[in-house]
Each structure stands twice: as structure tokens, then as C-alpha cells.
Symmetry: C2
């Protein structure tokens, strides 16, 4: 299948393109080029054209890309032209910040269930969607009932693996992990890590 | 110069290798291979060998890599075998979570100055290093006095560009930005973005 042959690293760049296109839309722009996108992102224009060519023809030679069209096409390829419910575990400072994050709006995700172990947090209303913090005991059943396949872990490191296991056993296939620990997950489950250390260490080389 | 010829994308993978090595050390392991690292990280072993070959010979054919040695070498290459002071702007839920993040320990960074505009936050003690939240008016002078070259922005999107400008004017060369906005920065300043949307969108393709 053609789809299987697209390298993960190409798929991994599409959200970055989507993000840049979104900013161009916000700026009121209509047409862009692989050169402009490349300059903004620090990626070569040839790389961008090569990445996009895996999915078809999005621009015409010499006229560039229609920004909204390309945005919609990439959104469809990444399946974010729909709304995914997301289960978040951890309602501390980090979990609350994630639930409050305005950047999710219009990007395909809604944090619709939030869990914690702390009795003082359970029952509180948090986040932009006014979700009630539930006891983490309800994590598995809630994921199953609502057919949730995406989870975010914002717990202390010591709790993250057990939370991941509960999520996966209940049907989660994609986990965004903020805890500073590498998760062990079965084949077919994907994990992305949010780690400020990696971001900072990517820049110190140049200092 | 050889150093300049190393692609950014290679430098960008070194912190990911460092992170994996750190977990191997925590597991009490002593020797690893490009194959094992690759399996853990979803990167081909050939890619890992090629990346490391830019910097010298770290392993012997057939015997693998000494984990601590490789960790120390990569730390030195990335210049994180020392302590960098970091200025953090934003002491809301996100800023507090960053200041409390235990994952910075031993990785080369110390959040030693924290700023906010909110009078109810200024003067409070936050984070693992018990930093006092300062008025954001003190941001530029503090960066200059302490020679800080790394900043983290955890403000609302609307404030991020002005904060970046103040940081850069005072001497910051590397910015980790959590605000959902692309920053405009002069040549010579690097920005890394922490965006949960990018992480989530990297996984939905496979759902």
C-alpha cells in the first residue's frame, strides 16, 4: 500500500507544515511557496516539495500553494479535519495548563475527560471545555464507554507507566506523555514525548 | 569548519539519544548498540551510526557503545555538561509546572529567574530551586546582570512576542516557546516550540 511506504519522519513534519499554514491563514495570506515555508521553518524548500509529493500535487509550478487548500488537504491526511476526544490524566499545574491550552481550538482535539487521584481535585471543573475532574478509577471505563483512543499523561513520572497501561487496556492507541519517563507500550500503540529538556538541548550546541 | 557542516537535523536527534542513554543508565545498563537504541527510538540503527560518526568513534565493531561514555561525549558536544541558567517568563499553571519539572535535574539547566506581570504572583516562591517570582519589568536587567542566554516563554500568546523581544535585546540566544504563536526573531537567535498539537497530530495519521 502506498500509505505504508511513507516514512514516519515525513508524517512527523506534516503537523509542522500545518502549524505554519495556520499562522499564514491568521495573517490573512492566500498563497505561499515551498521557499517561504522552508524559510519560516528552517527546512529546505526541496525537502518540503519532496514531502508533499508523497500525497499528490498541491501546487502549480510557478504559482505556489493555495494556503487554505493545502491546509485542508494536510488536515485530511492527518485525520484532524474531525474532532478527537482526548482523555487527560493529571489535574495538577501541568494538567490544568494543558486543559486550558487555547492552541487546541480548531486543531482536531478536545480534552473531554480529565482524571486525578487527589480527592481535593476530583469534582473540580477545569479547562476550556469545563470538564469535571474524575477519579482515576474511572479512567478505563470512561475510555471504553466513549471510545476514546487518544490520551495525555501529565502525572508524576512514578505513576505514568501504570496510567499508560490502563489507557491502553481500555483502547487508547496514541499517548502524549509529559512525564519524564520512557513508556513501555505494545506494538500498535504510539507515544510522543513532550520534554522541555530535549528542546533546550537542541539549542545549546549553537551557543 | 567541520562543526558547521553538521546538519541541524542531526544535532536535533542528539538530545533524543541522550534521553534514551539516560534511561539506560537509570536501568543500570552498561553497554548498548545502535540496534537497541534504534528499536527504542523508532530510528534505524544505520541512521544512529551515521549521526554519531559525525563526531568520532564512540563504539567498537561488535562490542557496542559504553553507555556512560557515550552519554558524557554527547553531553559535551551539546554543551550540557555544565549548568545553564534559564529565565522563565510566566508563573501561571504552565510556568509553575515548568519550574517544578523534575526532569531538568542533571540535564544542564536550572530555572533561576522567574517573571510575571501579575501582582498576586510576584514575590511568591516557586519551583524546585525556590526562585522568587519577579516583576517582568526586571526581565531585561536580570538577564543582562546574570549573563543569561536561554529563556522559556510560558505566557499567553498575545504577550509572547514582546517577551521574546525583551529577552533577545538583553542577550538571550535560545528560546523555548510554549505560547501558541510563531515568534519573529533575528538571525543568530534560535527558537524551539513546545506544542502538544504537533505531538498529537503526529499520531492521528496512524489511527
Amino acid at each position: 500500500m502506498a500509505k505504508r511506504s511513507i516514512p514516519d519522519i515525513v508524517i512527523g513534519r506534516l503537523p509542522v507544515y500545518l502549524r505554519a499554514l495556520n499562522f499564514l491563514i491568521a495573517e490573512g495570506r492566500q498563497i505561499t511557496s515551498s521557499q517561504e515555508l522552508g524559510d519560516r521553518l528552517g527546512i529546505s524548500s526541496a525537502q518540503i516539495r519532496k514531502d508533499l509529493s508523497h500525497f499528490g500535487e498541491f501546487g502549480k509550478q510557478g504559482t505556489g500553494y493555495d494556503i487554505v487548500f493545502l491546509y485542508e488537504q494536510l488536515s485530511a491526511i492527518l485525520k484532524v479535519n474531525r474532532m478527537w476526544d482526548v482523555a487527560l490524566v493529571g489535574a495538577g499545574n501541568l494538567g490544568k495548563a494543558i486543559a486550558d491550552y487555547p492552541g487546541f481550538a480548531g486543531k482536531g482535539f478536545r480534552i473531554s475527560a480529565i482524571f486525578d487521584t487527589d480527592p481535593t481535585k476530583i469534582g473540580k471543573i477545569v479547562g476550556v471545555h469545563d470538564a469535571t475532574v474524575l477519579d482515576v478509577q474511572a479512567l478505563g471505563p470512561t475510555i471504553q464507554e466513549r471510545g476514546i483512543v487518544i490520551g495525555i499523561i501529565a502525572t508524576p513520572a512514578v505513576d505514568a507507566q501504570a496510567v499508560a497501561r490502563t489507557m491502553i487496556d481500555a483502547g487508547v492507541k496514541s499517548i502524549l506523555n509529559y512525564a519524564p519517563i520512557t513508556l513501555t507500550v505494545p506494538t500498535g500503540v504510539r507515544v510522543q514525548y513532550i520534554d522541555p529538556v530535549v528542546g533546550l538541548q537542541r539549542m545549546t550546541y549553537y551557543l
